[in-house]
Symmetry: C2
Subunit: 149 residues, 2 copies
């Protein structure tokens, strides 16, 4: 497998993949461990909440997004991790049996000013559901190795 | 237990709690499921990475932060969930045996213009480790019920 370096990215590059099926079991398991709010762990309470049914923890949706990135992008790249991200929005609830699709567009690609062996890629990422509705939006920041001379 | 409503918050209000001990087992378990990058799941690869050892997935650190919020804050409040958050930064790696402490300061409290029964609270949250170093920074957005008339 050839490794993808910083230089292989340009602003506007788009990556699309999926699908990730969301299960009730996985929603409950994650929420019991990390986000036991009633509308994430209690079907009856969720039905009576403003969400009208069980929904995934937003952090769980973020975890699923991360796993999709690792499976499809990260492990083929000379990645160095991430300092964080900006403007995360949970636009619509993610529910059992939803099917998620991933779309990423590079919005900035620049060399690090302090580390010449590193570049920084910023991307606008969306998750869509099976109805082509945006459920999550986030601007990511990734650090990558530059191609060895 | 008395419920805490939107009106009970003012800009500058500070909440501090902890401690959350981070275990190697939990780091590996989360990462195998949601973020199997080598420096999160492979001790040897992690030792040779720029991180110099195994570190928690940033999404895992976010999940731990969420759980600390639910245990200490959310379930005592008339919360309605969250539309997202801004400016998340993983400032320092979180490692096995780290002990995390939570600090939140309200930076904005305003009524919703579209829903009079709802208010919006923005907060600056930090996680610190046992050496009083900031490991995570994020600006959260919470929706809360206003107190019934």
């Amino acid at each position: 497998m050839s490794i993808i370096y910083f230089e292989d990215f340009s602003v506007g590059d788009k990556t699309v993949f999926g699908e990730k099926k969301v299960t009730r079991e996985e929603i409950l398991k994650f929420a019991h461990k990390y986000d036991p709010q009633s509308f994430h762990v209690d079907e009856n309470a969720a039905n009576e909440s403003i969400y009208g049914g069980l929904i995934a923890s937003g952090w769980h949706t973020g975890g699923m997004l991360m796993r999709m990135m690792v499976d499809n992008m990260v492990n083929q790249r000379a990645g160095l991790g991430s300092p964080g991200f900006d403007d995360l929005r949970w636009i619509l609830p993610v529910r059992p049996d939803d099917v998620l699709r991933f779309e990423s567009t590079v919005i900035e690609a620049r060399k690090s000013s302090s580390r010449p062996d590193m570049g920084i890629i910023r991307a606008q990422i969306y998750l869509f559901n099976q109805n082509d509705e945006k459920v999550l939006s986030v601007k990511t920041i990734g650090m990558m190795k530059t191609r060895p001379a």
